[in-house]
């Protein structure tokens, strides 16, 4: 198959500069989990490092270690879902910043027999999302436990952080109040976290008081705007990736492309969006497992390329997402790793 996912690294760089300007003086932690949102970890991390990004959000220890292999010792790499003692030890060994949102991991850290270094702990307070994060009523106990680890030379409290729900500004204000109280408590306990981080893309751009020291931005870096929110132009970002398919056959039923739902285009989009053709927009009428059918246009021929979504297309990932009540990230993340990535740069 010749369907490709084209990633414009120059557009990515422009987004990185835009993010940096929008969140200054906070620093940009570029979130690169899940293969850099399925754009390809190594090329994007490498380019971001060249553009001056020095914080990477890698999610898990395995990805963190992969980022470390790309960027070397200078960058800070934050991971925040840790599976247990063994995973934790691997994270210390890879010189990662460790997001800890579960008291059991503090016990794991206390129990490591021969840690490779001092753990840089970012303690997470649950400010309402109720995923990981330590509940406020248990926070003081977790701080006391952390202070013991610091006194033993096993860790340093490097950061305090949380995730917010973005359910409403009022809900996020409530979450921030819990967060600030948690930080005050840490300071009162004699711990001095250097970094506070609370916001991701949306709040990082829209709400200055949420920026603190670091803003964890994934989606906007890749040019993915929020569903139901401001447009790319308003945000100053641009989509960086394009899904391009190739015409394989033309018949009475339409024009058939070498891309299907198995490659990650949700079948629920069939009949709901158009693609550009030399004769104007045409509807995507059917999405089969390994092929897609578009309403016919004159002179369509096998080998022709059709831009399905993304940069330069009629629809961005988020435009398609809104048609099926989801978010652009899910559309981007479903693009199968079996579709070859091609990287463009001037």
């Amino acid at each position: 198959m010749t369907t490709t996912y084209r990633v414009d690294l120059d557009a990515f760089s422009r987004n990185l500069h835009r993010v940096r300007a929008a969140i200054a003086p906070a620093a940009h932690m570029l979130v690169v989990k899940d293969d850099a949102y399925a754009h390809g970890l190594e090329p994007l991390v490498s380019r971001a490092f060249d553009e001056g990004v020095r914080w990477f959000g890698a999610f898990d220890v395995a990805t963190g270690a992969a980022v470390r292999a790309v960027v070397g010792p200078e960058a800070r790499i934050f991971v925040w879902l840790i599976g247990g003692a063994e995973d934790l030890a691997a994270g210390v060994a890879a010189d990662l910043d460790l997001g800890i949102g579960d008291e059991a991991l503090l016990d794991d850290l206390a129990g490591l027999s021969e840690p490779a270094g001092v753990a840089r702990i970012h303690l997470k307070i649950d400010t309402g999302l109720h995923r990981n994060g330590i509940r406020p009523e248990r926070w003081d106990e977790a701080l006391a436990r952390t202070a013991e680890l610091v006194a033993q030379g096993r860790g340093v409290l490097e950061g305090i952080w949380s995730h917010i729900s973005e359910a409403s500004d009022a809900d996020d204000d409530d979450a921030r109040a819990v967060f600030l109280a948690g930080r005050d408590a840490a300071r009162a306990a004699g711990l001095a976290p250097r970094f506070s981080h609370l916001a991701a893309s949306a709040a990082g751009f829209a709400r200055g008081e949420f920026r603190e020291d670091l803003v964890r931005v994934g989606a906007f870096s890749y040019g993915i705007r929020p569903a139901g929110g401001p447009g790319e132009d308003d945000l100053g970002i641009e989509p960086i990736a394009t899904l391009v398919a190739t015409v394989t056959a033309v018949d009475a039923a339409g024009v058939h492309l070498d891309l299907g739902s198995l490659h990650g285009l949700p079948s629920t989009l069939a009949g709901r969006f158009d693609v550009d053709t030399p004769a104007g927009p045409r509807r995507v009428e059917a999405i089969a497992p390994a092929s897609l059918s578009v309403a016919p246009w004159p002179e369509a021929a096998p080998g022709d390329e059709v831009v399905v979504f993304g940069r330069g297309a009629r629809n961005s990932a988020t435009d398609l997402a809104e048609l099926i009540d989801t978010i652009g990230e899910e559309i981007a993340l479903r693009v199968s790793p079996t579709v070859p990535r091609r990287y463009l740069s001037a």
Partner: protein, 212 residues
């Protein structure tokens, strides 16, 4: 510059959900699968099952996977064969969720009474469709528990009620209904997606592991 991505970070064993693949089911299904009509069972890395593995198992039986009906071969709903793939996450921990408290982005779920929730590995980046939040159940220790709130990119939250859940407990997102696992059919009903695209996404992004 051209690059074909690896399916997943090597050794993402810590918190990566696992797509378990049953060689026994694949062999049993191959014996019953009729000739393919249309789709190639080896397309898109064998519908997420791993083309190299599928082709070699069928070749050992003297067959050619590309000629078999994919739905029957992989045991998708309606084919009346055994599901080959099962998606497994882990419960990393549990915590109280008090009456009125929200869960995950947008607080689409609020607890009607005090309960306990488990943080489970597996989100829409691994093919756990985002719209399954508040609609689907998972199986832990043989009991069903509902996914509450929005499925996030890499994790889900499950309301486990009074059930004791050990740290690290296995969570079955879907598997073989004959074993009491949630069926893929529950996912197609809840999402409107086809079973084929669900297994293709899961198998290409979760960590694949073959069992005999």
């Amino acid at each position: 510059m051209t690059s074909t991505l690896p399916a997943r970070a090597p050794g993402a064993g810590g918190v990566a959900p696992v797509a378990l693949l049953s060689a026994e089911a694949l062999r049993a299904n191959a014996a019953h699968a009729s000739a393919a009509s249309g789709s190639n069972a080896l397309a898109a890395d064998a519908w997420g099952h791993g083309a190299e593995w599928v082709a070699s198992v069928i070749a050992e039986m003297g067959g050619d996977a590309a000629t078999l009906d994919p739905a029957a071969l992989y045991g998708l709903p309606g084919a009346h064969t055994r599901p080959v793939m099962s998606l497994r996450g882990r419960a990393l921990g549990t915590k109280p969720l008090l009456r009125g408290e929200g869960v995950s982005y947008g607080y689409t779920h609020r607890a009607p009474h005090d309960t306990t929730v488990a943080l489970v590995t597996g989100g829409y980046a691994q093919g756990v469709v985002r719209s399954l939040g508040n609609r689907a159940t998972v199986s832990i220790d043989g009991r069903r528990h509902r996914i509450v709130g929005r499925v996030a990119m890499d994790v889900s939250v499950v309301d486990v009620g009074e059930a004791p859940i050990a740290r690290g407990a296995e969570v079955v997102f879907f598997g073989d209904p004959a074993l009491g696992h949630p069926s893929l059919e529950e996912w197609t009903d809840a999402t409107g997606l086809m079973a084929a695209e669900i297994v293709a996404a899961v198998g290409s992004r979760a960590e694949r592991s073959v069992i005999a």
